[in-house]
Symmetry: C2
């Protein structure tokens, strides 16, 4: 959206919004923000979202931890994600581009991420002539990760464990980081939806 020069800096960023559908919705959000190790990323929380910026693997590591740490077995929780590279607005976070791709939450995410989620997502590539091929490559990787991609209006649907999904996003963003100067990945992740139960029993 910003009036940026694509490609002016190579930083990956993510905007994460958590929506726990319960009266005490603030508690899991604030607890998760505190529990997530952000030593490898630049961090900022605004009215809508928490932002992480840095190297792709480190951004995914923090962004996935934020969802996994907010999860409990009872609550319908939705996470809205915007991953992007190529439209920085400013340089905030460039000190985290040290080549280490650190993932301080990896063990925690692997241990706690074994619950089933559904995801809708769209991948947009800008300034590429063959952008449909790039999109096809990204969706193909979802099948390789066992996430059973299905087309729906305006999105692709995925199903798998939280760990599977975020591992896929890590691979997809690593591919995009290598091959594209400017992209956006919009994803919405849902767990414990009552609509899911209705759907599965039809």
């Amino acid at each position: 959206m910003e009036a940026c020069q694509p490609g002016m800096i190579d930083i990956t960023g993510c905007r994460v919004s958590l929506y726990p559908m319960k009266d005490q919705f603030a508690t899991p959000i604030l607890t998760s923000i505190n529990e997530t190790d952000t030593s490898a990323v630049w961090q900022q929380t605004d009215l809508f979202s928490t932002l992480y910026r840095g190297e792709p693997a480190s951004v995914i590591d923090a962004a996935s931890a934020l969802f996994i740490n907010a999860y409990d077995e009872q609550t319908h929780l939705v996470g809205e994600y915007t991953f992007s590279k190529g439209c920085p607005g400013d340089l905030a976070g460039d000190s985290f581009l040290n080549g280490q791709q650190a993932k301080p939450n990896a063990a925690n995410n692997q241990e706690k991420g074994d619950f089933l989620v559904d995801c809708k997502y769209s991948f947009y590539a800008f300034g590429e002539k063959n952008y449909m091929e790039e999109i096809a490559a990204i969706v193909g990787m979802a099948a390789d990760h066992g996430l059973n991609p299905r087309s729906a209006h305006y999105v692709t649907i995925l199903t798998g464990t939280a760990s599977q999904l975020f591992n896929y996003f890590e691979a997809a963003l690593a591919y995009a980081h290598e091959n594209l100067s400017h992209y956006v990945l919009e994803a919405t992740i849902s767990v414990n939806s009552p609509s899911k139960e209705v759907q599965d029993h039809v």
Copy 2:
């Protein structure tokens, strides 16, 4: 995301997800779906969202009613919107392209939409050489509608009444419908956020 041929059909669509942050979150969603007049649009509800497809003004009319009808003064409510044209996937809804741009919820939206909301949004134009100019035109219209657009990482922020915001979206999508073959507008609308109170008192 889908492997589409941009421009193959001229239908506008919107995916709306409502997130009422309360224990009884299903009630306002289902009530609002029932109260929203969908006589001018094609409609479908899936695990994530309710979809409306048809002419731009009619799609905005239904999409805004869904948020306004779900609103109450106490609940922190978030609406996640994906508006798009140019990547249909299939032809569902083309029977609603009758040139009438009907807005059966307009009076209701005007009467009930006088509450303050915050919005983050991004506008993406595809296959246009001068897409940064098109984005600038769309953001400029937000200022004209009194929504005070501000840049943030990956999004633009707007503030105004729900009616003001949806009137702006109607104007923006009418412009996009005339001038662009393929676009996506991603918007997240928030009301009654406790973070807002904290922010306003700092």
